[in-house]
């Protein structure tokens, strides 16, 4: 379709895009602005649209000492907890699902189909549905308030297994056969051929699962009781809902801004690999 370019057709898309960006970005900007003012300015309800002078003070305080009531844990350690949990969940999910997909696709064992369907069915049972039995098991194993308690129940991933399975099934059989003739055993084939070829899938899954792990709310809320084990999502929640003191909004907002950074960094960092993988992969 050939269209004559008018001023309208030239600028309209940009106007629409700018509007979209504004709608998405404005709340984030407001959170950032709020994190740079003192409590008095925020609580009188007249929040300016430009950053205030308390940026360094607020961030320093929240990072290293925490709020004065509700949770006294510094955000630094919450970020650490969240990071360990998100990385643990993402890496754990990738390892478990790539291995199980490898077994499902390349090994012929009895009840292979049944196993596959069992994994498939677990798609219908997210953490929220099986939360009570999972909690009971974790509690009985003494894994409350531990990192492995936070991570392990979340790493079984039917989605990841299915994703890798679909990918492995598109890898030509000749590559496996060439590996066999090249004296590469099953593990070598996995390590030298399948994993490098799956880099794109791994990158995609890592991004999705890192954010999934980072955003977990219910599970950490249930199994962590110590302040030193709480994740940043729980931390923000505790800062906002206070019993008797005023909510320290500037600190809550600073925490929210800090909580945004790692997932954004992961998306931006992985995007390169992701796109590179998409462009380079050829089977």
């Amino acid at each position: 379709m050939v269209e004559k370019e008018t001023a309208f057709s030239k600028y309209m898309p940009h106007v629409v895009l700018l509007l979209g960006v504004l709608i998405i970005f404005l709340p984030v900007w407001l959170a950032f602005v709020a994190s740079t003012w003192d409590p008095a300015t925020i609580s009188n309800g007249k929040l300016p649209l430009t950053p205030g002078p308390y940026f360094i003070e607020n961030y320093k305080r929240i990072l290293f000492s925490g709020t004065s009531s509700s949770t006294r844990e510094p955000v630094w350690s919450m970020l650490g907890n969240s990071f360990i949990m998100a990385i643990g969940v993402a890496v754990g999910k990738i390892i478990i699902s790539i291995l199980s997909a490898f077994a499902l696709v390349y090994y012929k064992f009895p009840l292979r189909r049944t196993v596959f369907w069992f994994i498939f069915i677990t798609l219908m049972l997210p953490v929220e549905v099986r939360i009570f039995p999972t909690y009971k098991i974790v509690a009985d194993l003494g894994m409350l308030d531990t990192y492995h308690g936070l991570i392990i129940p979340l790493i079984a991933s039917a989605t990841g297994t299915l994703l890798f399975r679909q990918f492995f099934m598109t890898v030509p059989d000749e590559l496996l056969e060439a590996s066999k003739i090249d004296a590469a055993g099953p593990f070598r084939f996995f390590k030298d051929t399948l994993v490098p070829l799956s880099m794109t899938t791994i990158a995609a899954l890592f991004v999705i699962q890192f954010i999934y792990g980072w955003n977990q709310y219910l599970w950490p809320l249930l199994i962590t009781t110590k302040d030193s084990m709480q994740t940043i999502v729980i931390g923000i929640r505790k800062m906002i809902v206070t019993q008797d003191a005023l909510t320290e909004w500037q600190l809550a907002m600073a925490t929210a801004v800090l909580a945004l950074l790692p997932p954004v960094a992961v998306v931006i960092g992985m995007q390169k690999l992701f796109v590179k993988g998409l462009v380079e992969t050829e089977k």
Partner: protein
């Protein structure tokens, strides 16, 4: 270097389908054996059983006298070239060729030397640092062969290696493979459905059909003395004419009212036969009693094909272009007696 001996090899799939129904032959050391047949005839399955990629249901496969039925592919001392090359897409050409050697713990300087040698033979030296994706089809094919050469195996296995290439490149690579075999002298087994490849490359052709061997022989034997109608029509292009007829008396067969003289051997008079005549062995003879009614002509350049009928049955003859009028509707022909092949009408076997 090794000979390969197969004894009553069978492949039965779990569903009960028998893909290979008892095949036995021996390839001498340094021989070039081509397995040829239509798709689904079991030739690839047979090759894959020799490679060890497919279990042998029953029978014996020996490489250099050693029974290899239960030996892993890596330990059979074979190298294989696949139809779609099966190069590792994430490795450079060098690494593709070196991979098998590294897995066998060959010292790195030895690997470097062998890869360099192979690259020189195949003229792919400038490509060593590239990824397979950056190569053309012909170059990938060379790399796939390079991967086989560096291993210095006892047997080369080729699984339709040229069928992904365009026609011109195919002819070129065919010549390269022939040269390579001449210079390396390694026993080779080559699977193809292309009879031209089979004829040109082989010093031993195994024609297969429906899981069985139809005929084994040198290209010339198979061409000149096909043992069955299947081989007769499969080898040679254009395909051999097969006309229904019967033995009239010793020395002639009757085909729809006309008579063709030939060697009838000891076939009884009245035996129903298929008369095989290669299109290019028919000679034009104006005014001869034997005639072909021409329907249309096809120009091939060096020759012309006349499609027509003889005694009411389809017949193709191939002659040099200047020998007759392209628009001719009736041609007198002469068929030398030695050019007539007789097959039993019921079994299709040569009489």
């Amino acid at each position: 270097m090794a000979d390969v001996t197969l004894k009553d090899i069978r492949k039965v799939y779990p569903g009960g389908f028998e893909a290979v129904k008892g095949i036995g032959f021996a390839i001498p050391d340094g021989g070039f054996c081509v397995l040829v047949g239509p798709s689904g005839c079991g030739k690839s399955t047979l090759l894959r059983m020799i490679a060890g990629l497919e279990r042998i249901s029953s029978g014996e496969c020996r490489i250099n006298g050693r029974l290899v039925n239960d030996v892993e592919p890596a330990d059979r001392d074979i190298a294989m070239v696949f139809q779609n090359y099966a190069l590792y897409p994430h490795m450079s050409v060098y690494d593709n060729m070196a991979y098998g050697l590294r897995n066998r713990k060959t010292p790195e300087d030895e690997i470097r030397r062998r890869v360099a040698d192979a690259a020189k033979i195949l003229a792919i030296e400038p490509l060593l640092e590239r990824r397979p994706r950056a190569l053309s089809g012909g170059q990938r094919q060379r790399v796939a062969m390079g991967r086989a050469i560096v291993r210095k195996p006892q047997v080369f296995l080729f699984d339709e290696p040229l069928s992904n290439l365009d026609a011109k490149l195919r002819v070129h690579m065919r010549v390269e493979i022939k040269k390579l075999h001449k210079s390396l002298g390694v026993t080779s087994i080559y699977v193809t459905h292309d009879q031209v490849e089979a004829m040109t490359l082989a010093d031993m052709i195994v024609v297969m059909n429906a899981g069985r061997i139809e005929q084994i022989g040198t290209p010339l034997e198979v061409y000149a003395r096909p043992e069955s109608t299947f081989v007769a029509t499969f080898i040679g292009s254009p395909a051999m004419n097969l006309l229904k007829g019967s033995v009239a008396d010793a020395g002639t067969v009757a085909v729809g009212g006309t008579r063709i003289s030939c060697e009838t051997g000891n076939a009884a008079t009245g035996t129903e036969v298929l008369v095989g005549i290669r299109p290019d062995e028919v000679a034009l003879k104006p005014g001869a009693p034997l005639t072909v009614d021409v329907t249309f002509a096809e120009e091939l350049g060096p020759s012309r094909l006349y499609h027509g009928t003889l005694g009411g049955q389809d017949m193709v003859i191939q002659v040099v272009p200047h020998a007759a009028d392209p628009a001719a509707t009736r041609l007198g022909i002469d068929i030398p007696a030695r050019a007539v092949h007789l097959f039993d009408a019921a079994s299709g076997r040569r009489l």
